[in-house]
């Protein structure tokens, strides 16, 4: 497709353009383009520029600290890291998922649905809705959730309250909205009281109604620009996700399923503990984020996408009625076995918001979440693998410990890392199809960021750091001389630096 744009041959003769940083995403990333004399893009890369080193520095810690340590990889999806680590350390105390006490299993699921709900609401309403409501190349003053709150107060406020509700579910289960405690090896440390349950039940019907409204909104936005939304940043890929044994959409626990671009199943119900037999990660010199791929298909063909689009594409059905109806409508809009539109990530994200809201209601009405049999224990083991569907996709945690319960080895494949090749490919697609040959302006460059935002990348997970840098666009000639410089000011004005 666009792989030829990863590395240009005659790099020394090309002009370099930088978008630094990618904004309204979580984490440090930048895009570099190399252009020829006719402004044709010859190379485009998304670089992840920060490094943390978690895999090394958690070695030497006792395993029971892991769920609270590793959640500090990411304040947006801490619960996913918390639970993936918990699933791994369950195994260290000899507990496989089917042996977890029923109440603990349901409480973890409730916690996780709260997490996915709030993270997806944040991604859609707080980060991406300005692009989708005002247009990809709209004025900078429009490109924030504050503008959405001012001009579409109802939509903006629903987003704030949906996120709040997810955070409240997390707080009730784990004690704090961010970086709470809850899961421990072999179970959970508390159940819900009746008062906590009743508090959450108060608003859940309203949340379901708003979630239905959000799906209708994104469907309208998508379908009223159909050819554009189906083409922009779109790439045809494999998809990887967990599914339930019967093929239903699953967020907490299941087997690995992979489908190819035609919808043919390549792997199904594979035991994730053996992930290393199927998935390896390639290192490239120009980014701190690795490139995972399926060994059976090789480095060239074996990369895949994860996250809401992968899950909704891969599953046979969703086990809550309103979300299932939304899924059926979604699949019907394209007429293909798999939906490849990158912007459809938003649509599927909101279908999952609805699924989470429905599932939370079901669990709140289940007396098991108030049960007191919360922890199980078995034979000690020395290795554990925990895999979960985080908001952004399949998340792998893998630990080894010694006889003193000290961590000796750790490996994490975070969701955003699995989308690394796809994000790069989407950036290259937009660079080639929408930017190549044109004079680059700030709004035009936002297109690259719109493509990246669709994946809702959590670069802080992927690199274990976050932040943001000023946006400056520099054109440098083959000798490294600065020949043009655009600066974006705080009021959104774009200035050309005439001293250059």
């Amino acid at each position: 497709m666009y792989e030829h744009l990863e590395t240009a041959e005659n790099r020394d003769s090309l002009r370099r353009v930088v978008v630094d940083p990618v904004s309204r995403v979580e984490g440090h990333g930048k895009v570099t383009l190399l252009l020829d004399a006719n402004n044709k893009v010859q190379q485009a890369r998304l670089h992840i520029v920060e490094f943390r080193g978690f895999e090394r520095f958690i070695q030497g810690r006792p395993y029971w600290e892991l769920p609270v340590l590793v959640q500090r990889l990411c304040g947006i999806c801490p619960v996913s890291h918390h639970l993936a680590a918990a699933k791994a350390i369950d195994q260290l105390v000899g507990i496989d998922p089917e042996n977890l006490p029923v109440s603990a299993d349901k409480l973890r699921r409730l916690l996780h649905f709260g997490q996915v709900l709030q993270s997806h609401a944040l991604s859609f309403f707080h980060l991406s809705s300005p692009d989708l409501l005002f247009g990809f190349e709209s004025d900078i003053s429009k490109r924030s959730v504050i503008a959405v709150l001012a001009e579409y107060p109802e939509i903006g406020l629903q987003g704030v309250k949906l996120r709040k509700y997810g955070q409240e579910v997390i707080r009730m289960v784990s004690g704090k909205r961010i970086h709470g405690t809850g899961a421990i090896a072999g179970g959970m440390n508390k159940s819900l009281t009746k008062a906590e349950r009743d508090y959450l039940l108060e608003d859940i019907d309203q949340m379901i109604i708003w979630a239905v409204g959000s799906v209708a909104l994104i469907k309208k936005v998508h379908c009223s620009n159909l050819p554009y939304y189906d083409d922009f940043a779109t790439i045809r890929t494999n998809y990887l996700s967990l599914t339930k044994p019967d093929g239903a959409l699953e967020l907490y626990h299941g087997g690995i399923r992979v489908k190819n671009e035609h919808g043919e199943t390549i792997m199904d119900q594979v035991d994730y503990c053996k992930y290393n037999d199927y998935i390896h990660e390639e290192v490239r010199s120009w980014t701190y984020m690795k490139f995972p791929y399926l060994l059976s298909l090789g480095q060239e063909q074996g990369w895949y996408r994860v996250g809401p689009l992968a899950r909704v594409n891969n599953c046979d059905y969703i086990d809550t009625p309103l979300a299932e109806a939304a899924r059926v409508e979604f699949k019907a809009h394209s007429g293909e076995a798999m939906v490849h539109s990158t912007l459809a990530y938003h649509w599927t994200r909101l279908i999952e918001v609805l699924h989470c809201a429905e599932s939370i209601k079901e669990l709140l009405n289940d007396p098991d979440i108030m049960g007191h049999d919360l922890v199980a224990q078995g034979e000690k083991r020395y290795e554990g693998v925990g895999v979960i569907e985080a908001p952004r996709g399949t998340l792998f945690h893998h630990y080894q410990v010694d006889e003193n319960d000290i961590v000796t080895k750790a490996n994490l494949i975070v969701s955003t890392t699995s989308n690394n090749m796809a994000m790069n490919e989407s950036v290259r697609q937009v660079a080639a199809e929408y930017l190549s040959g044109r004079e680059l302006t700030e709004p035009l460059l936002n297109n690259l960021e719109v493509a990246i935002r669709a994946y809702d990348p959590c670069l802080s997970c992927a690199t274990h750091a976050v932040g943001k840098m000023p946006l400056q666009l520099e054109l440098v000639d083959a000798e490294g001389k600065l020949i043009d410089k655009l600066i974006k000011h705080s009021d959104g004005q774009i200035e050309r630096d005439n001293n250059v």
Binding site: P78, H179, V466, D491
Partner: protein
């Protein structure tokens, strides 16, 4: 608009959790934007902070880029605030400080499970890592510290409303916590 208090926020070597906790003021955000205007922040596309009243910094300093951003904030914010454990003392990322940086890189890119094409990323596009993760007060002067990992939404609310209404900020005992 002109009289609004200008607030800029950024995240350096943090996890974004402090920003999430700020967003946890929920619908109070509507009240806040009546009197506050957001300058550079992960919520806006404004990329440089200029002439701000309050700057909120999440995260410590782990590479040359962080230092650069932190200095920009100090130069452009009248009041600079260290938000959360990472900004105040390096926090969890500073756990790497007792391990040589090279070992951390080796673990991720050379000796890791399932690593192919092992090499340490080393492109001019990647900023230089510092040998240790530093608290931000080692680099610039800090005016206030908000403890917690993260500080709760009520801490943000109390602190900002105190400042906005011209009081010396103070946190009641029950809002001060370190986890």
């Amino acid at each position: 608009m002109a009289n609004k208090i200008r607030v800029a926020t950024t995240s350096l070597a943090g996890c974004f959790g402090c920003h999430m906790s700020f967003l946890d003021i929920d619908e109070r955000m509507l009240q806040l934007v009546e009197v506050v205007e957001f300058d550079r922040s992960p919520l806006t596309d404004i990329e440089h902070c200029t002439n701000c009243d309050i700057g909120l910094i999440e995260g410590g300093v782990c590479n040359s880029e962080n230092v650069h951003v932190l200095r920009e904030f100090r130069n452009n914010c009248k009041i600079l605030v260290a938000v959360g454990a990472c900004a105040i003392n390096g926090g969890l990322p500073a756990m790497r400080n007792h391990i040589p940086l090279e070992e951390c890189l080796n673990e991720a890119y050379i000796n890791g499970i399932g690593v192919e094409n092992p090499q340490i990323p080393n492109d001019p596009e990647l900023p230089l890592l510092l040998d240790k993760v530093r608290p931000i007060h080692e680099v610039v002067k800090i005016d206030y510290y908000l403890p917690g990992c993260p500080p709760s939404a009520d801490v943000f609310w109390k602190f900002l409303t105190d400042l906005i209404e011209g009081r010396e900020p103070s946190l009641p005992y029950e809002l001060v916590h370190y986890d």
